[in-house]
């Protein structure tokens, strides 16, 4: 199945690709690593040795930003993948496998929705503090609902549609109907949800950094960097600006990708 992209989506994809290239290959272009400190060279402005300067521990910002970006992208990718698989399967099953499953899943969804997502993530993050994997579980736990609701709605609409009725009358089975009818209808929507979901996962991880329950040192994380660099905003504005701009760019790239023809 081919997805034809709008110009907006293409520019989003190009930006995302650029960011991925930086995250993966950026660190190779400079010596050193993201954790090594140099307390006698703190907060140097960007120069030929440190292309983006150093932070308040004298760490190389070029490498730290790339590392942080890697982490954010990985989180976004994993969350999207997991929640999409769970959400779509549950959504299709709920719409096709009888009332009780539907009601049960609906009850779970209402429960999760009734709790603000961030609170759920805070609790999960507190179970294993500073764990990437716990954040991943928590964010996925919130995000699958969107996929679930959309795939359930589409499937429900389709179960009584002529095309599915026609395939049933011709004797085709459930799996065939999923493959030929439900999935093709869900997939384009999925792309949009996934793009925005990725953006949200990145934003949520950054927000957790802000309330100190995100990733722990010395791992670089964009939200935490923003908080750490904030006190220096008048001494070293570039230090605060760098993670901010990078965060905005990666979220923007995802959101542009998700923007379909309608908007």
């Amino acid at each position: 199945m081919s997805i034809s992209l709008t110009t907006t989506q293409k520019s989003g994809a190009a930006l995302l690709l650029l960011l991925i290239v930086y995250a993966v290959f950026g660190p190779m272009l400079q010596e050193g690593d993201a954790a090594t400190q140099n307390l006698s060279h703190i907060m140097t402005a960007p120069n030929s040795e440190f292309w983006l300067g150093t932070d308040h521990f004298g760490r190389n910002m070029w490498i730290r930003l790339a590392d942080a970006l890697q982490l954010s992208l990985m989180m976004a990718g994993l969350c999207v993948l997991t929640s999409a698989i769970i959400g779509v399967s549950a959504g299709v099953l709920a719409a096709t496998r009888g009332r009780w499953l539907d009601r049960g899943l609906d009850a779970i969804v209402t429960m999760i929705l009734a709790l603000p997502g961030l609170v759920l993530v805070l609790i999960f993050a507190a179970i294993v503090p500073g764990s990437f994997w716990m954040l991943y579980v928590a964010i996925s736990l919130i995000q699958w609902i969107e996929y679930f609701r959309v795939s359930r709605a589409i499937t429900q609409r389709l179960t009584h549609s002529p095309e599915v009725q026609s395939s049933k009358l011709m004797g085709f089975g459930q799996w065939y109907i999923f493959r030929r009818h439900y999935w093709p209808a869900i997939a384009p929507q999925l792309f949009t949800i996934a793009a925005f979901g990725a953006a949200n996962a990145i934003l949520m991880m950054a927000s957790l950094g802000f309330v100190y329950v995100g990733i722990q040192p010395p791992l670089a994380e964009l939200g935490l960097m923003i908080v750490e660099h904030f006190p220096y905003y008048s001494d070293a504005p570039w230090l605060l600006a760098q993670p901010l701009i990078l965060l905005a760019l990666v979220v923007l790239a995802c959101q542009l990708m998700g923007r379909g023809r309608t908007q």
Partner: protein
Amino acid sequence: MRFFTSSLAGAISALALATTPVNAEPTDQNTVKINAAFEFSSIDPSRSGYVFTRMQIFETLLNVDNQGNLTPGLASAWDILEGGHKWRLSLRDDVVYHNDTPMTADSVVKALRIATEKPGAWQGVPVTSIEVVDAQHIDINLSQPFQPLGAILANYASAILAPQAYGEDNLAREAIGTGPFSVYQIAVPHRLVVEKFDDYWGKVAEIEYARYLTGHRAEARVLQARSGQGDIVFGLDPAAVPTLKRLPNLEIIRSDLPRTLVVKVNASHPSMDTVEARQALSLALNRRGIAAAVLRAPEAATAQILPAYMADWHVADTSVEQDLEQAKALLQAQGWQTNSDGWLEKDGQRFEIDMITYADRPELTTVATAIQDQWRQLGVKLNVSITNSSAIPAGHADDSLDTALMARNYGVIADPLGSLLKDLGGAKGGDWGTLNWDNQGIKTTLNELLSESDPSVYRQKAQTVAQALYDEKPLIPVASYVQQTAVNKRLEGFRFDPYERSYFLNELSWVK
């Protein structure tokens, strides 16, 4: 015309009368705005009493001066009788509670008895009874001499509240104290407004109102100082200090505290159970770098727990220099080899330890991050975990703790002996002190000091303890904690209490 002028004058004077603040409302002009990090979860002095003593609502029988000497408070004098088994306190006769009832010996005894039942400062004090002697005197009877009792009486947990303040469960329900300020408004846990108390026995305040506001985030407090929304802002993030110093409307006051940034070490951890291993960890620290780059106070680097001005407890000949080579050599002698990844290894085990710290004090996280990298140079893998401060005593209790970075205040009780006893004297050490440090001699010395009255012997024994702490590193000091306070220049008379018992609000006045 005459009629006109006189009526105009009348109108003006009426207007002036109406706007004159006769104990009117707290406004921006008549209120000192104070911002600090501490929430108060309750009015009870045993819990968040420090907020109430600092805001000068509650007072204690004894006070402490800047040098740590006991001075009279609500008690004008104290005598130690019967070889230290009895403390007799003479009460002031001119003290009035905020509810306008006089402070009597009965009410003081009631307040003290309630204080002794609660967790905190009074636990472990060998009190047998507290009795009224006469209208102006009370006795505290001890089963054995206890030198730090004076310091405990100066602690916020020993604050004297009016009898009407307590509920049936002996928890304070209303904040009725004796200080120069009384409560105007309380919104637990963030906000406290006080107004001056005109019948105060001591120096009556000049400012009318003061407002205490909890600001959890260090960034927010800095911003409040910058923008003039905090007149006095405590606990500034060192990172922001250089910027704040450039502002014309602020004065940044640097105060030394008997508070030290210390790494608590589990001395029975297989990698750290030798003196040499702990010394190596200490030598690997770039204390000057941390002090200069992180704390923005290069002279704060220290290798000792107690500051130089606590001379009894401070040894002269110590070094804060980093020596990575010697540190490596020490560990090599212990059998540690560098593996291919650059980490130290012995018997297939990596030198890998956890460090707990907490985010409430902004410096701790950054210092931990710095230590992490400095120990990495040594080949020691440190996993920093930023959590709640309670993880430290909890980890102490079940031995799960490897190391912890903390900011320990040895002046909670004015004489550090009390704190040191708590920190070093327990079976395993102390919740906020050593863990599994096997040095029976030190415990014995500390206990002897409790009843030691000869200053020179006291000093000699104290030096032994300080030397042992320096040599064996059951606690690895990093830097002394520098309190940075921003004070708006519209105020004068600000004074910082190194023991953090009082904000001395009654000494403040508005710059005219």
